[in-house]
């Protein structure tokens, strides 16, 4: 009888360990879920040099002009895209807190959405395909040129260059 405990005890322990495994109960931050559209800001004249924005604000072009970001002085931003509609409309406002140099550019994204299963904890993400954009940018705007690099947004790579 005693030697059966040598079998029973390890099996019970293994059973409990496997039962209580909760590794896949939490969506880990490293897991790629719904991607953001990553924009890199480059210098308009020297087209390969990153150039940070100064006090950039991003707002939605909705009734409330909802803030997405404010006070961004960085060489890149990641914009969320609407997961309930096939378009996302933004204002990109440079030097947003300034009263004199404030300059606004509208940029609108159009796309198709697709829900993809990720895993048990994160469930589903949305990826965006057939990306297109429109902008009211002119030679007088703070943004001088826009280059969309990829038709699909499904990972964390750079998707767009904005020259200013």
């Amino acid at each position: 009888m005693r030697r059966w405990f040598y079998l029973v005890v390890p099996v019970l322990v293994l059973f409990m360990v496997l039962w209580s495994c909760t590794k896949d109960d939490l969506c880990s931050e490293e897991t790629p879920t719904t991607p953001l559209l990553t924009i890199e800001f480059l210098d308009y004249t020297d087209r390969t040099t990153p150039k940070p924005t100064s006090d950039l604000a991003v707002r939605l072009r909705d009734a409330d002009s909802t803030f997405v970001y404010s006070g961004i002085s960085d060489v890149s931003i990641s914009l969320p895209l609407d997961i309930e509609a096939d378009q996302s409309l933004f204002y990109l406002i440079n030097e947003a807190s300034s009263t004199e140099n404030l300059s606004v550019v509208e940029i609108d994204f159009f796309y198709q959405r697709q829900d993809q299963y990720v895993n048990r904890a994160c469930a589903f993400k949305t990826i965006y395909t057939n990306m297109a954009f429109e902008s009211d940018q002119t030679s007088l705007s703070w943004i001088r040129d826009i280059n969309l690099l990829t038709p699909t947004v499904e990972d964390a790579s750079v998707h767009m260059y904005i020259y200013h």
């Binding site: 059973f15 896949d24 969320p80 895993n119 904890a121």
Partner: protein, 248 residues
């Protein structure tokens, strides 16, 4: 979870108490033999020494209890084994399960039936006249089921655009999955030919049909699957009746 632990502990206690009761009739036999070496007593011992072969059939009580108390579960399991040698049994389990399964960001309904076929080895050496068992066994399990994705919000890390719950009710039917299972059981004879058994199952998924844009979060008979390993667990608490076919 707390319910399962309670069932588990209660069933362990039942198993242990049933075992301790079983010792009594054996002692009375020993006394009889040593007290009087008459031919009658000798004959009685020989008769008990014969091994009964036959069919043991029954059902799983824990699954009926879960059906009664767990609103997300309904199912049953029929079990049977056939003793074909002194220590080996051919075993089969047939079951049907309907499970509502919810994770933090999705809900699904999985319905299906399963069959498990294999053999048990009784490692417990009974004293004369007793028929208890500590059995280890192997099974191959096969399930056919349908998996319906009931609803989900899209997982997003940015709060700017919140997601609504999408209730598309996408059904993936005709799925199959197979696994190998190690089963450890304690079987006690409660009354003549009536057995109560507690078992624990360790499973390893061998094959499964993955839905095109979803996963089998739970498989009837296999229980919860795991994203990071092929292992699964299960338990059973069965009541079975032994129908003797021949003694020798």
């Amino acid at each position: 979870m707390r319910l399962y632990i309670c069932i588990y502990i209660i069933s362990l206690l039942c198993g242990v108490s049933a075992f301790s009761q079983e010792l009594e009739p054996e002692q009375s036999i020993t006394v009889k033999v040593s007290d009087s070496l008459t031919q009658n007593a000798q004959y009685e011992v020989n008769a008990v020494n014969l091994t009964a072969y036959g069919l043991r059939i029954g059902g799983d009580l824990s699954k009926l209890a879960r059906t009664a108390f767990d609103p997300n579960y309904s199912g049953f399991e029929l079990v049977g084994d056939l003793r074909f040698s002194k220590r080996f049994y051919a075993a089969v389990e047939l079951g049907y399960e309907e499970r509502f399964w919810s994770e933090q960001f999705l809900e699904a309904q999985i319905n299906g039936s399963y069959i498990k076929v294999g053999a048990d080895f009784n490692a417990y050496r009974n004293w004369t006249g007793m028929n208890n068992g500590i059995t280890t066994g192997l099974r191959y399990g096969l399930s056919t089921f349908s998996n319906t994705l009931l609803g989900y919000p899209v997982y997003t890390t940015n709060p700017t655009f919140p997601s609504s719950i999408r209730e598309d009710n996408v059904e993936y039917s005709g799925l199959t999955a197979g696994w190998i299972e190690f089963i450890l059981a304690i079987k006690t004879e409660l009354w003549s030919n009536l057995y109560l058994s507690l078992n624990l199952q360790l499973k390893h998924l061998l094959h499964e049909d993955e839905p095109a844009n979803f996963a089998n979060l739970v498989i009837p008979g296999f229980n919860k699957t795991n994203d990071f390993s092929a292992f699964g667990v299960g338990y059973g608490y069965t009541l079975t009746y032994f129908i003797p076919v021949l003694k020798r």
